[in-house]
Symmetry: C2
Subunit: 463 residues, 2 copies
């Protein structure tokens, strides 16, 4: 396969690709809006028809208790070839506030190389580059089937919390058996600095209630002689971090896979401007966190404990001199591989019980099981192969990033028991989830090119 | 003067005293209810008439910007005799919830020795015992005038915050010139354990706001790398006390007049039941406070810093994984003699400024000037004289208490530049400020008896 053949195929297919994408983008598949359920289904049907037209031998609509997913399979010619699941989603975010859009979010508009509309980057544009890339690869190689078996799984509820996704994965576990999962729903560092995500942080939450007297007491009559739950809460939360910014809950770091020197070195090569970052961080006045780590390492690769809310006593106008009956706090932990949310929850509950003073009663409520972190080591065969494909497409070194947030990707790794490989061309500047979402068409075409090389690289690497 | 003469006079005057008090109690002088302004004035007029009938040569209604006070003066025969201001108030608390009263709050009812109604104990009953006591003293001694010059000042706004009281004291400072101020608006330990209050704590308040990012940030994208104002607030408030429960603000204890061994010893003789006290303290599970002090010492004679309210970030249902923009806390300090509210405020502001981490901005708002503490040393001539008068009336040793709360009494001491002497017979069990307020008539008569001896004792002691 010649690069030029792939590139020439993709360039020749550009207009058709853009036309197809624009057609799909006109369907307002907002999964969070119950009134748009029929549109989410139309979006699934459109994709299924498109995949059939592109040559996928098997295309199915997979029903869930919520919105439908689309499944398509294209077996490799070689029955011993590896199998790869490709994950994306066909639902989109709501479009409010509508008056901040310069164009109709569901009538995509081209402005030069830019395509503007809801879903252009997140995630319809990134799903569609796969079909273009796959066909380019087949055309250039003269094959009738890809070098790996491709199982495309495009869910319809990602933007509303993937409520039925784990259930679907468990139910379809046999059909989805694979050697790796390619995720096309993340971002690169920038248009000039292509990169691959290698992990997302997990999450677990807790709500702590501390109880002292059975009612608010007059601080003149009782102040200074009974435990004040707000004092106990301040002491508790202050004790949650040590002077180095490390979480003090025993065992908290036990399962953390440490950053390798190579990953730290590659992170350090990203052109990170801390002043600019502080501006995006709500004009924060200083970076602050775990000692010994850079800002990028802190948000991507280190676990945290963060107090998200705290309240108790008199919070209205004016003064009220009381010893309050209760104090409350909401706390969340961002986790990294290989921390286990339920293990962290239990460790935190024990720690709270041990740190509450005499006369104060503590309750810890955990709202759910949490989200597991996910992580792909940069020296794994799959990541190295995908990086080669990306570098061939972009013609430059591909660096690595991670994401500080949490998503359903960990379920894919856990339930399908397969490593994740993040191949995506979105940017933080694409205004995903915001008015005027957009993408540059040449960037999607680079994605198609990377996808064209990806299967060939993975066929060798995963064998 | 024979005790028996005083006692016989008081017993003979009992019915007239109760009848007069009941008449006054029917006037609903609720100063906090704007609709009762005419009743507060009627109450002042009633008292003025009563004082004239009791023989006070000078009786005046003193207008304020709010409700009127009553002033009455009875000069001593000896022009060199000391002068004593007697303080009380003729307004009463609201009566809600009305359906929890067993009787009409403004139709006082006798049940055996008990008199039930709003104002029976706080404070009409305690003002009226003074006129009975004064006349008993005169009758028993055969004098036409008291042994000290008595200046009775009965305000009409105590239950609504004494808003214009300091103003009144300043305006009438010359007329109110005195050697001591007797306060008849506090309580004794119990009916069996007569006692005198020797001080009330002062108060100053502050509201702290800590600001981090200009808006709430997503904790996935930024958590662990920017300062979290809630963490800073927890650190700040946790640092406000040391491991011994002492306030860490530099200079906080500098002006505290320490408890004397004698006062501690006398406090320790009060029959204090900590388990019972914990029940009244909202079923608090343990006593807790400054190391080295008993519970009574902590609430009466030691200064405190108490967090009354704290809030920030997400406080509603469910989770919201944010780094919040702001954190808030309301803090009050109970002060003891001779701490100065404005000095403590300034020390706290400096302390906050020094304890806020980089990247967090602090603002401290102080809602007002605060309330100064007041204190009467138990070995002062006035307190010793009043104690002798109380012991003669009750026929037993009189112990000492203090009050943990704060009131306008400190203004009397400050503006009139005179020591305070607390002579009162109220009890915590009198349900003042609550439904079914009551008093035992024999206890008021003991108050009258103490008042009868008081002037004679003070005439010698203050000369």
């Amino acid at each position: 396969m010649q690069v030029n053949d792939v590139v020439a195929y993709i360039q020749a297919g550009r207009d058709r690709f853009v036309a197809d994408l624009k057609e799909w983008l006109t369907i307002p598949s907002i999964s969070g809006d119950p009134g748009r359920a029929a549109d989410v289904r139309r979006s699934a049907d459109w994709l299924a028809d498109h995949l059939r037209a592109q040559g996928f031998p098997t295309v199915e609509i997979w029903e869930t208790s919520g919105h439908p997913a689309v499944y398509a399979e294209w077996p490799a010619e070689d029955p011993d070839a590896p199998t790869v699941v490709v994950y994306g989603h066909h639902d989109v975010q709501p479009v409010e506030p509508l008056d901040e859009w310069d164009t109709d979010p569901f009538h995509p508009v081209e402005q030069g190389d830019r395509l503007i509309g809801r879903g252009t980057s997140d995630d319809k544009g990134q799903i569609l580059f796969h079909t273009l890339g796959l066909r380019a690869g087949l055309a250039a190689s003269g094959r009738q089937a890809p070098p790996v078996t491709i199982k495309l799984l495009v869910e319809g509820e990602e933007e509303s919390g993937s409520a039925h996704f784990a259930e679907l994965l468990r139910a379809r576990r046999e059909r989805l058996a694979c050697d790796a999962v390619v995720i096309s729903d993340t971002t690169m560092w920038s248009a000039d600095v292509p990169s691959m995500c290698t992990g997302m942080r997990g999450l677990t939450e807790a709500e702590v209630t501390l109880r002292g007297p059975s009612r608010d007491l007059h601080s003149g009559s009782f102040g200074g002689a009974v435990p004040n739950p707000l004092h106990a809460m301040a002491d508790l939360l202050a004790a949650l971090h040590d002077a180095d910014g490390r979480v003090t809950v025993p065992g908290f770091y036990d399962d953390v896979v440490p950053l390798t020197d190579e990953e730290r070195e590659l992170f350090a090569r990203l052109p990170f401007d801390e002043d600019e970052w502080l501006r995006t961080a709500g004009d924060s006045r200083a970076a602050h966190g775990e000692r010994g780590y850079t800002t990028l390492e802190r948000i991507w690769a280190r676990p945290t404990a963060e107090v998200n809310g705290m309240w108790g006593g008199h919070t209205g106008p004016g003064g009220k001199t009381i010893v309050p009956a209760e104090a409350h706090a909401k706390i969340s932990f961002r986790l990294v591989a290989a921390q286990d949310p339920s293990k962290i929850q239990m460790a935190f509950e024990s720690w709270v019980a041990e740190h509450v003073p005499a006369g104060v009663e503590a309750e810890v409520r955990v709202p759910g099981g949490g989200v597991r972190p996910c992580f792909s080591p940069i020296d794994s065969a799959g990541v190295r192969a995908a990086r080669r494909a990306m570098e061939r497409a972009f013609g430059t070194e591909v660096l690595f990033t991670r994401e500080g947030g949490s998503g359903p990707e960990a379920d894919l790794a856990d339930i399908l028991e397969a490593p994740l490989i993040f191949v995506a061309v979105g940017l933080d500047g694409d205004r995903i989830h915001a008015p005027n979402e957009h993408v540059e068409i040449p960037r999607l075409l680079k994605g198609a090119e990377a996808a064209a090389y990806l299967w060939e690289e993975l066929a060798t690497a995963l064998r």
